[in-house]
């Protein structure tokens, strides 16, 4: 019950944050230089034509009218129409979400799979070669700019060694699972496992380098967090008590110490996942990954405000949802936070 109230409170706070994001993003348009009509109208368009285009785009209305129209539209799932493409902004923006989520999650998985064992090994073998190696890896990982890393991975693993493709996302993860849920004439059809595996392999093959590129900084960060958390936990009295009780060292490390270490790591993971959703711009550009980051950049370049606004709102909403989820997880792992 307490958990329910906690989540409700967080939900209401989240709605307020999203509303704030929507308002800020809406107002951003009016304080940013560059008139969208410049990009839509012929360059030598007459004042009349410019006025007509502004009217068509709804830019001639008072600010509050545009704002109310926008909010009402959003509540109905309408983000307006792309100035440049003339199609619904929501369709374009939402089509980019899976690629961004896939990349963010894959980078997070890379981080978790590598960082947590590495951090534990580093902490339990302090001042041994493994610890030095892990520390060095963390330092390099945190210091490496991901645009450079991405280009280097492409040059070495794609161009020189021809192991991975250079870029692109020929198939999405959700599309590969569609092979398992096929419907013909309203009836479930046999699963196409071969196509599923082919699709999954193609997806993995293409996402590997972007995920490593995006996840390297994150991996290094979590390795350091895990290491310091584990070292702290292993010095706690309950660990000494457990050892005195004769529990096996592996049980103490992985069951007791690591579980307590995970609480702050989960928080960081959640926050970083939110950051990855909006912050994968460079990685997306280097690997030609069709996500929200590249859409935002492309749209900013041509002042396509409905797409900019839509993308930022989706990113902001995603960030809020992830934080609520992390809060819930945190509350589950450590029930004291609910109170």
């Amino acid at each position: 019950m307490a958990l329910g109230r906690f989540l409700l409170k967080r939900g209401i706070q989240g709605v307020l944050v999203v509303w704030g994001v929507v308002t800020a993003v809406f107002l951003l348009r009016f304080i940013t230089p560059g008139d969208p009509v410049t990009f839509v109208a012929p360059l030598d368009a007459s004042a009349e034509l410019r006025a007509q285009i502004a009217a068509d785009l709804g830019l001639d209305q008072p600010l509050y009218v545009q704002y109310v129209d926008y909010i009402v539209g959003l509540l109905q799932g309408d983000m307006g129409y792309s100035y440049l493409r003339g199609t619904e902004a929501s369709t374009i923006v939402l089509a980019r979400v899976p690629a961004t989520v896939e990349l963010a999650v894959a980078a997070t998985v890379v981080a978790i799979v590598i960082a947590i064992p590495l951090g534990v090994i580093s902490a339990t073998r302090r001042r041994e070669p493994a610890d030095y190696g892990a520390t060095l890896f963390s330092l390099v990982g945190i210091s490496t700019p991901n645009f450079w890393l991405g280009i280097m991975l492409i040059l070495v693993l794609s161009v020189q060694l021809d192991i991975f493709p250079t870029s692109r996302r020929p198939i999405g993860l959700f599309e590969t699972f569609a092979f398992l849920v096929t419907v013909e004439n309203g009836l479930a059809a046999p699963m196409d496992v071969g196509a599923f595996l082919d699709g999954l392999w193609t997806w993995l093959w293409h996402i590997a380098l972007p995920a490593v590129t995006l996840g390297t900084y994150f991996t290094a960060l979590v390795t350091r967090l895990t290491r310091s958390g584990m070292i702290e936990e292993l010095g706690q009295p309950y660990v000494r008590a457990a050892r005195a009780k004769g529990l096996p060292e592996s049980l103490i490390q992985y069951k007791h110490a690591l579980q307590n270490t995970l609480i702050p790591i989960v928080t960081v993971l959640g926050l970083q996942l939110g950051t990855l959703i909006g912050g994968a711009v460079i990685t997306e550009a280097v690997f030609s990954w069709p996500g929200l980051g590249t859409l935002v950049i492309d749209s900013i370049n041509v002042r396509d405000w409905p797409l900019i606004q839509g993308s930022l709102i989706v990113i902001g909403t995603g960030f809020v949802l992830i934080n609520i989820f992390v809060d819930a997880l945190y509350a589950y792992l450590n029930p004291r936070v609910v109170h």
């Binding site: 990009f39 360059l43 040059l155």
Partner: protein, 546 residues
Amino acid sequence: MLRDDSDVNRRTYLKYVGGTAATVGLAGCSDSGGDGSDGSDGSDGSDGSDGTDGEDGEQLPEPETREEHLQRANLRLNERAPWIFLNRQYSVYGIASRLDWTARRDERIEAQAISVTEGEPSVTITQSSMDSGLDPHDHRETPTDNIVVQAHDGVLGRNADGDIIDALATDYERLEEGRVRFEIRDGVTFHNGDELQPSDIAYSVNRVVDSEVGIESPQSDQLAGVTGAEVVDGGVEVTSDGINPIVFSLFASYCKVVQQDWIESRDSSEINSDMNGTGPFQVVEYEQDVEIVYEPYEDYWGDAPEIEELTIRATSESSTRVSQLLAGETDLVVNVPPQEVSRVRDEDSTEITAVPSTRVIFNAMRYDVEPFSSPEFRQALNYAIDLNSIIENILQGFADATGQPTLEGFVGYNGEVGPYPQDVEQAEQLVEDSGHAGVEITLETPVGRYLRDVQIAQAVASQIDELSNVSCQVEQRDFASLAGEVTSGDIENMPHFYLLGWGNTTFDASQTIIPLLTSDGALSSYRGDEEVDELMSESQNLPGEN
């Protein structure tokens, strides 16, 4: 008779014709490149002006033909130096050695001209972005053009050199002032199997120029001066405001032909996600923002394409495009930046193909503000610049120096006018003569809009700053806000001194000079030069070769 009408028609022409180049002008390209050639004719830049007031034209015979008018205007502009004339950009492509292809000067990639000498007869092209929708009349940018032109033909066309060739029209003639006629090719079919009708061509023209027909096309100014089209005796007659001397040139570059029934029976989203043209390729698969796949159209009226499958994709990051080419994942990439050229050249399986583009880079100076109101000062800045150094060191040879707004090969290009040579003493003397010694000026430049725009601006400013009597600095600007000021329609809003690029795919001088350098030009920073105004006005009332 034409001369008598010139006053009546002048404003109309200046208004409409000026729009055409505007369409492709500032739209620009952020990272095209060049082929490493060593500049244009390398002439000595003698212009005869030497700081005089540019009245030299009086000694020359009166121009008679339209081309002579345009050439005279270019001479006059070189003398009066309303810009610092910089360079012509090159379009640079990376291409797999197994392909045989000649790049076009208008930046379009027509895959029909590609042949495969080795390996699979399928070709993948990677450009910097995908389309903004497949409606042939509802876009303005080159990447969309490249996707649309594979499936759609125009009334006329151009070969790789930019010369006008027949396309869906087999013959064309000027009937009278403001009316031309096209004879339509027989036996042409759309990809859905329906036969092309003259009414489809009339509809296509009207869909572009008339907002009452279908859409408010952003290409309306590409058919500058054209007011409509109708079917007459099995042909199509196009009407214009006035004589419209470049009307055939416009139809060679613009206005793709669509099927009226097909368009009218579909909504906007359907039109933007499929194509039904008469072109050499038909769409097999289209995924917005991802890729488009074509196959040859078997009943194409012209020569059948040699390739059996064509795919167009996009990658915004130029180094990744080059890596894709080197890894064999694509066969042709656009806009290879100078620093990536050696990577492509060093590989056996790939090579560089470059072609002079239709884009000129310049520094405009506002004629109505000091110190730029002084012709001597403007000339001084031209003499201060070492163009060859900029081209060699910043553009790595991938550009041609120019001394006039019109590029070589265009109608109206004046072969007698070369780039200004660098002459620091002359420049300092001209600054003294102008009465502006000791002045401080600021060059405003967009960032990342044109190939190495900031670096070019910094080099220009540095070379001006080296003059003993002028200080110059660079201010980097967001392109949108800079373009907003330039296109505001009010010269008072324009920056005093700014870098800009201007593309002109009509290959006609008027489409650069009128919008940018005449009194009524919508984007003009140079007004009040009666000689230029008169020459351009008269040129627009003379029939051209086009």
